[in-house]
Symmetry: C2
Subunit: 273 residues, 2 copies
Amino acid sequence: MDKEQFIINAFLNSINGDDGAIVDNWCFSKDLFFENVHFKRSWMSLEQIASKALLINISDAIVMNAKPKYALLGLALPKNLSKAEIKALQKGFLNTAKKFNIKIIGGDTISNHKIDISITLISEIFKKPVFRKGLKIGDLLAFSGNLGQSLKGLELLQQGKKLSPNHRFIKPKIRKDFFYEIAQKLSCAMDISDGLSKDLSRLLKINNLGISWYKNLNSYELYSGEEYEILFAFNPKYENFIKQCAKKHKVKLNIFGQAVKGKYEFVGKEHHF
Amino acid sequence: MDKEQFIINAFLNSINGDDGAIVDNWCFSKDLFFENVHFKRSWMSLEQIASKALLINISDAIVMNAKPKYALLGLALPKNLSKAEIKALQKGFLNTAKKFNIKIIGGDTISNHKIDISITLISEIFKKPVFRKGLKIGDLLAFSGNLGQSLKGLELLQQGKKLSPNHRFIKPKIRKDFFYEIAQKLSCAMDISDGLSKDLSRLLKINNLGISWYKNLNSYELYSGEEYEILFAFNPKYENFIKQCAKKHKVKLNIFGQAVKGKYEFVGKEHHF
């Protein structure tokens, strides 16, 4: 067992291995977004940093079929940030919160030598939640959108280039309306944060199943992390419905395989910062 | 306005300025516990670090009169931690969670160059919550326990000395049973994390009141942070009841002043790491 899995098992698997934890009608999720772990300050504006920190948490809630309602912000901020810089962070949080109808209700701020953000999202389950568990033999496996852009953007940043404000790496696309519409027909879902291959291996492992591939995916598609597209599965009888929803919401639908008996081992390399 | 208050106003005061945020019957609280901000690894064992990280969050929930039920752990951990070190952290979290009947239901782990812990606690409100707001003219102001030990411990650590495992700085005393019993009679309460003087100034400011002092407190009592004793106020008619409860729970009760019209400005210096 690798150390990452050891840590996950030690702390987090007591109830679930999901993007969020469900208690009554609530979904609780928490993601860390740390300077020099997830971003460099030279790559993004402070407004973009705050916005992405919140978006990656929103992504977790949405793939559970939960509607984000409240957020707690944990902010570790350098003492030498100016008031203008603090206002830029504030703007990123508030604008993104507003767009998703989220109220910031509390949190904690401390001084630190770098910008480390920890967000907890409290989301409401209106219908039934969608878990990572639930995959059945014969289910079709699919992901939304085009994968690979996040890794390509990271490579450009590491070469000292700049990305446009709408680049995937700066501003993840959240497939809220599409996902809420298809959620009731899904067997399982999760967001793609560590790359399709790594996240697929987790999804299949938790369900004790393997995959029969429909197409060859390139290494960008397989290994690009921080995509925040959605990996999901459904019974083939819902294929037409899901295709129609994808068309309606202008989301590219990629049905790339089918769940079968067997195992799928992650063998590639995670490519994210 | 100082920058700390600027940050608090920018992000956290949209609903409250309390230790926890109340939504329906739930209290949500979040505290960060960061290496080289709140602790040095040479000062405490990993088990003690994990335990204190959870205890300071539990303290927030209890002073709102909420019962901690669930926790989300955000763990930023160095890659070079050994499995034995990870197990020591795990032991600290699990033992403390068990003592307070808390289930760890999820979170996030990432690699970082130091140990930074962010905990969210989800607590249930069984009766009425106690807020920072609610102080009335004539209310008696009190704190539990003896203040000053935390700062004295910090000074010893900074001189390279060691503290015993039961020292206040290592293991805050949580006055759970005492607080739950007196909570219904209190006008307001908060825990003492930044020193009595600083926290009192916040309590009085939010209530637009001042204090008439009953006794002179020394600078350790006024400025020692991370005490996690409770600052609270009550109508004088409850004085006997509260004295009896303190006696029953063997908690030292210090009635140090009375709320009056006026202002109280914090003028000292915060003494915590």
